[in-house]
């Protein structure tokens, strides 16, 4: 019985036998493929996309630097001004030099990155939740399809950047009064970006849901009396996960660009509050003397967006079985 290599070992009701045969399953290729989830396939496919792997590595490196950087870098040096160390060039003490108030640019870049990435991730999450909700509702419930899609069309016809600017102008004061300046502006920018960027996700999700709804497994689930809510969460949502993941990656990229654009136009975070867009904006007046001050934050934004776009490309290839393996 304990000799698991015996090909005649009966795989029956005995739990011990099943466990034993599963334990040696590693040797048998047939059982391996059975145990693999589809995510391993996706990962294998993703790994072959060189650009996506490099992009993922760069993005994770920047994320790690921004998250654990404050443990190694004195963040105070990015806030307190030090008049004796103004406009320092790059050196060991100041890896990216100092600004005109003697603040360490490297510490400011890390602080700015925390805000920019946090805004990107939160705004992406918000727009995904909104887009998925509206997409699923419109695709699954026939009565809601017309009104919700007209709403999506209307939102697509809105001039987004001007409206974002107007929204920031209008709600800045009430929100800063209610939540304090930093949290208030954070909420404002995240919700403004989230509310204006869910439409593409909603359209894609709706299209997929419309097709999925007619499939046999949904019919089977309905025939045994599964309520709509559970059909959506159990059968529909897992199947629309791949387009949602692709639009998530692209969503982070656009959210980061939008936040930086708002900060760059002077309508984002307040001047003392570093974000990459804000730092870039602060650096522009000193372009002739200290080009690095505008260059580094811009490079950070571009690198993050570029790497995320590559990850999105790789994910799309990996998740779409029709183009897989080409």
């Amino acid at each position: 019985m304990t000799d698991a290599r015996d090909p005649l070992t009966p795989v029956g009701n005995d739990i011990g036998v099943v466990a034993a045969s599963a334990a040696v399953a590693g040797a048998e290729p047939l059982l391996i493929t059975a145990a693999r989830s589809q995510w391993w396939d996706v990962w294998d496919q993703f790994r072959t996309h060189k650009g996506a792997m490099v992009g993922a590595a760069i993005f994770l490196a920047i994320l790690a630097l921004v998250v654990i950087g404050p443990l190694f870098v004195d963040m105070e040096a990015g806030i307190k001004s030090d008049m004796r160390a103004r406009n320092e060039p790059m050196s060991l003490e100041y890896p990216l030099g100092t600004d005109r108030l003697g603040r360490d640019m490297f510490a400011r870049m890390i602080a700015g990155g925390r805000v920019s990435l946090a805004v990107g991730l939160t705004a992406m999450a918000l727009s995904l939740v909104l887009g998925t909700l509206i997409g699923v509702l419109a695709g699954y419930f026939k009565g809601l399809d017309g009104p919700l899609m007209r709403l999506t069309d209307l939102f697509l016809a809105l001039p987004l950047l001007p409206l974002l600017l107007v929204m920031v102008l209008l709600f800045r004061e009430p929100l800063t009064a209610a939540f304090g300046i930093e949290v208030g502006i954070f909420i404002l920018i995240v919700s403004a970006i989230g509310i204006t960027s869910w439409m593409q996700t909603a359209r894609i999700v709706r299209g997929d849901v419309l097709a999925l709804k007619e499939r046999e497994f949904v019919l089977a689930a309905r025939s045994i009396g599964t309520p709509s809510r559970r059909i959506v969460t159990r059968h529909i949502l897992p199947n629309v996960l791949s387009p949602i993941m692709v639009s998530a990656t692209l969503g982070i990229a656009t959210a980061i660009i939008t936040e930086s654009a708002l900060s760059f136009l002077g309508l984002g975070f307040p001047p003392d509050f570093p974000t990459w867009g804000r730092l870039l904006n602060d650096g522009v007046p000193f372009l002739e003397l200290y080009p690095g001050r505008a260059f580094w934050p811009g490079l950070a934004i571009s690198l993050v967006v570029l790497s995320i776009n590559y990850v999105g490309d790789g994910l799309r290839d990996a998740l779409d079985p029709r183009i897989r393996g080409r």
Partner: protein, 335 residues
């Protein structure tokens, strides 16, 4: 086709009205007060009269209606008068800016040429570059040119214009001193010298905008060509002995251009929106920069009108794209 166009036109009207309402209601919440700059010594009742004169005392729906009438009837009448010397619009109240107490459309008319020059040139340049690049990299898929092109276009649409703008300023204006970094709008083109100057000052903003548009368009062109290159009709065309040039540049290109043309039409309003940032970087005083200054100065009629103009552009070009698609592709029939 005609019924479809008419139906789309009719649907555009409620869409526009709804967008106008959204913009109007959003600005209704604005904390700004046009009387904030009036000295405190002016008595309250005089201030109230001034408010009335600006049309602020009336209920919301009446003001909304008046604004719509001004936008869609009185301002076009003014344009008509200006063109033909008639006086239909005499004595009718126009949309007045709170900043300079002049009709907003006069200021907008002053600013539009700069935007059109910069945006229009960059769009044309981008189309002229993107289409050949897209065709060639699709035809030679996975070649060195294709790999390099894909990488460059990926960079082109990942690098935001406020960084690429700053970058080209550092390189071409600060280091090499080839081009000016600031757009001088007072320049009058009346000689070859000033024309050269105009070209030089337009070069950098056009380059930044064109890079962005080129990347999007050439990716799209490449994908569209790839879709068509494997079709049966291409094999048939080759089989009957057509030259390769004819197959690619006539048969495949014509079919691939259908979606690309609609994307080009759809992109126009987005370019106007995107030009807001580029105009800010190069200090071009176009309508994007006008919008930013109006927002900073709390000039609500100006903001309202400009935002709505952007919305009109979007709706209009969506319509054009839909109709174009129907005309170009006989397989598409909206019935």
């Amino acid at each position: 086709m005609l019924t479809f166009t008419i139906r789309r036109l009719l649907f555009a009207i409620p869409t526009l009205l709804f967008i106008a309402l959204v913009i109007f209601m959003l600005l209704e919440l604005a904390p700004g007060d046009p009387m904030a700059n009036v000295p405190l010594t002016v008595p309250a009742e005089v201030k109230e009269q001034m408010r009335q004169a600006l049309g602020l005392g009336e209920p919301v729906h009446i003001r909304f209606w008046k604004w719509i009438v001004q936008f869609f009837w009185i301002e076009p009448l003014n344009v008509f008068d200006h063109m033909f010397g008639t006086t239909f619009a005499e004595g009718k109240l126009r949309i007045i800016s709170w900043q300079n107490r002049a009709p907003v459309f006069i200021t907008i008319a002053e600013r539009i040429p700069q935007t059109l020059w910069v945006v229009g040139t960059s769009y044309v340049v981008a189309i002229l570059i993107a289409i050949p690049v897209g065709i060639y990299s699709a035809y030679k898929q996975y070649s060195v040119f294709d790999q390099a092109g894909t990488f460059v276009t990926m960079i082109g649409f990942s690098v935001p214009p406020f960084f690429s703008g700053v970058l080209v300023i550092i390189i071409f204006a600060v280091q090499l001193r080839w081009f000016p970094s600031i757009y001088d709008t007072r320049l009058v083109v009346d000689s070859w010298d000033s024309f050269g100057m105009q070209v030089r000052q337009m070069f950098l903003p056009v380059m930044v905008l064109a890079l962005q548009i080129t990347s999007q368009l050439s990716r799209f062109m490449r994908a569209s060509m790839l879709d068509n290159l494997n079709q049966d009709y291409v094999r048939t065309a080759r089989a009957k002995g057509l030259r390769e040039k004819t197959v690619v540049l006539v048969h495949v290109l014509r079919n691939s251009m259908i979606p690309v043309v609609t994307v080009i039409a759809l992109g126009v309003p987005a370019i106007f929106g995107g030009a807001i940032i580029t105009e800010q970087v190069f200090k071009v005083n176009g309508i994007g920069q006008l919008l930013i200054t109006a927002i900073q100065a709390n000039d609500l009629p100006m903001v309202q009108t400009l935002t709505f103009i952007f919305a009109v552009l979007i709706v209009l070009f969506n319509l054009i794209a839909d109709v174009l698609y129907g005309i170009l592709d006989p397989r598409i029939r909206y019935d």
